[in-house]
């Protein structure tokens, strides 16, 4: 089995602020961590590898600072990592990111399974997985909460829909995006932390991958961020429920049912 886990580095929780003058996000000095759902994807990959053998590769696209998240993936137990890093990839939206990643997956070659976290906790799109599946022309199972390999080529995933569950069986290769319910990601271990520095990390730019330059980075991104703003921060405005308990409950239900 060759399994690639696509990860994103996200700012550590709520450390992102907005510059009130420029309306840009202040990303300097923000500590980056692996997107939490992506850790579930890594865990799923490692579990399958432990069961069926093979190789787990961590793939990400971003600046050099993303190296720390690749290293975290290796310290969890992945075998090697690839970072797609270039100014030419900058400003990519999900379409350009999905294209670039799918081309990198083609270069890695013979990939049986591509795993993603269901979405990133910063941009919250969850779009790159299905886009990659489309570009690779392979099936997808999204929002998976249970996963099991029947044999080297067949996987059954249970996805959690809104209020229902669905069993989906696919023949590999395929793209799977996973929910947090799927598993509990293992910890990095002290020994694996040290050996993560000895594992192979390839850094590829636009010259290393077969790419249509018009489809990467800002040029390949149809969407534009027009404005970023902080909504009025509402601390909890406490509303006191008056009258007797009966009236208070009536008032409460009237309000929260709206």
């Amino acid at each position: 089995m060759k399994i690639v886990v696509c990860i994103k580095q996200v700012p550590k929780s709520d450390s992102v602020k907005i510059d009130p003058k420029t309306n840009n996000m202040i990303r300097d000095n923000v500590e980056g961590v692996i997107n939490p759902f992506d850790k579930n994807a890594i865990e799923a990959a490692l579990t399958i590898r432990d069961q069926l053998g093979g190789e787990v590769i961590i793939l990400s696209m971003g600046p050099d600072s993303y190296m720390s998240s690749l290293r975290d993936g290796l310290a969890m137990g992945a075998d090697r990592a690839v970072l797609l890093s270039s100014r030419a990839f900058g400003g990519a939206d999900t379409l350009a990111t999905g294209y670039t990643i799918s081309q990198a997956l083609k270069k890695i070659g013979d990939v049986d399974l591509v795993l993603f976290g269901r979405q990133s906790v910063d941009a919250d799109t969850g779009q790159v997985g299905p886009i990659v599946a489309q570009y690779l022309d392979v099936p997808q199972i999204t929002f998976v909460e249970q996963l099991r390999m029947i044999d080297q080529h067949t996987l059954i995933g249970q996805r959690l829909l809104d209020g229902s569950t669905q069993q989906v069986q696919v023949t590999l290769p395929a793209v799977v995006t996973v929910r947090a319910e799927l598993n509990t990601p293992r910890y990095e271990t002290p020994v694996n932390i040290q050996s993560s520095f000895e594992k192979n990390v390839d850094v590829w730019d636009e010259h290393d991958i077969d790419l249509d330059k018009s489809r990467i980075g800002q040029a390949g991104s149809p969407t534009v961020v027009k404005r970023v703003f902080a909504p009025d921060k509402k601390g909890r405005q406490t509303k006191t429920l008056n009258g007797n308990a009966k009236k208070a409950v009536q008032e409460l239900l009237g309000q929260i049912n709206n």
Binding site: D14, I18, T94, L95, G98, V121, D122, A123, D124, T125, G126, Q127, V128, P130, I131, A133, Q134, P139, Q140, T142, F143, R159, L160, L161, D162, G163, S164, T165, Q166, V168, Q169, V170, T171, E181, P222, T223, V224, V225, K226, R227, V228, A230, P231, K233, R236, Q237, T238, K239, T240, L241, N244, A245, K246, A248, V249, Q250, L252, L253, Q255, I256
Partner: protein, 320 residues
């Protein structure tokens, strides 16, 4: 200039129309300046479902009828939508940010080579440009995103931010031709509906929490009933973890669990810091306490000063 169209993807299963789809029809009609609102609806053959959509008054319904939609995969749905969208070229396409919507939309986006904004909280038109408003980095920061040079302008929109309103309209219904391309490598089962069974209080959508001031066996019994009625779980503050009824797994707070339910109702909990940090992410907090100075009250959206038992009785009676 021909009139442009704003399309809404109507998600269906065999027996019902997904509610967000209807909310989006109403929203589309609200924001349309001169665009026609078109519902595009892959569905099993069912007059009932089409009639239901019609009640919300889109200008047009395009039905894509095939009984294989009962268990269609994301890719099959995206492929069928691609066939109609790519030939008719609507200005915009709104999609419910349901699991299915969020799985189909990006696949369709890649087929159409256009932009897609995920999980919008609002959309509006600036001329023919669809401005898509979405939260980012949690809900603390908002973005406005547009897709100036590509169409359709696609957005998935979060469920239940808009209300669906029925309205009369002279709706045209068109049954469109398409080819259903089965995805042979995939076998999908019919979705099985589930009743919320959060085994973990951290995942519960509703939590009824009890503290020292609401710890009698009678109250515990009622709290369990109330939680069952609301599809939630009972949690406790630290003092109650010593009782036989509750273990550590039910404890909310710093040394217990952090919870993030849509609704948290606190009874007899004073609101020590250790507790408050565990409930920061609850969406709506209701607290009942006899002490008007209990810190929990100021940390709540709704506060009631009074008897927990009485309040709980009334909730049990009034909640349907």
């Amino acid at each position: 200039m021909t009139q442009t169209e704003i399309w809404v993807y109507v998600q269906t299963n065999q027996t019902s129309v997904e509610p967000t789809s209807l909310q989006l029809i109403t929203k589309a009609k609200e924001i349309a300046v001169n665009q026609r609102v078109v519902a595009v609806m892959p569905t099993v053959v069912s007059e009932k479902l089409i009639n239901e959509v019609q009640e919300y008054g889109p200008d047009k319904i395009i039905t894509l009828e095939d009984d294989r939609f009962k268990t269609a995969t994301d890719t099959e749905i995206a492929d069928v939508l691609y066939q109609v969208v790519s030939t008719r070229k609507p200005n915009s396409l709104l999609i419910p940010a349901t699991v299915i919507g969020r799985s189909v939309a990006p696949r369709l986006q890649a087929m159409l080579q256009t932009g897609l904004t995920a999980d919008c909280l609002d959309v509006y038109f600036d001329g023919d440009t669809l401005v898509q408003v979405k939260p980012t980095y949690g809900d603390d920061i908002m973005c406005e995103i547009t897709c100036p040079d590509h169409q359709p302008q696609m957005a998935t929109v979060r469920p239940n931010v808009f209300k669906a309103v029925k309205q009369n309209n002279d709706t045209t219904i068109e049954k469109a031709d398409f080819e259903f391309h089965p995805e042979t490598q995939v076998k999908a089962s019919t979705p099985q509906s589930i009743i919320s069974s959060a085994a973990n209080i951290g995942d519960a959508n509703v939590v009824v929490a009890l503290g020292r001031g609401a710890s009698s066996p009678a109250i515990i019994e009622k709290a369990r009933k109330l939680a069952a009625k609301l599809g939630g779980m009972v949690g406790v503050s630290r003092p109650l973890t010593d009782s036989d009824e509750f273990g550590h797994e039910s404890q909310i707070g710093q040394s217990g669990q952090s919870i993030a339910p849509d609704l948290l109702i606190n009874f007899g909990i004073s609101g020590a810091v250790q507790y408050l940090v565990g409930i920061e992410n609850a969406k709506t907090i209701v607290s009942v306490n006899t002490d008007p100075d209990a810190p929990i009250l100021a940390a709540s959206d709704y506060a009631f000063v009074g008897d927990a038992n009485d309040f709980m009785d009334n909730l049990l009676e009034q909640v349907r």
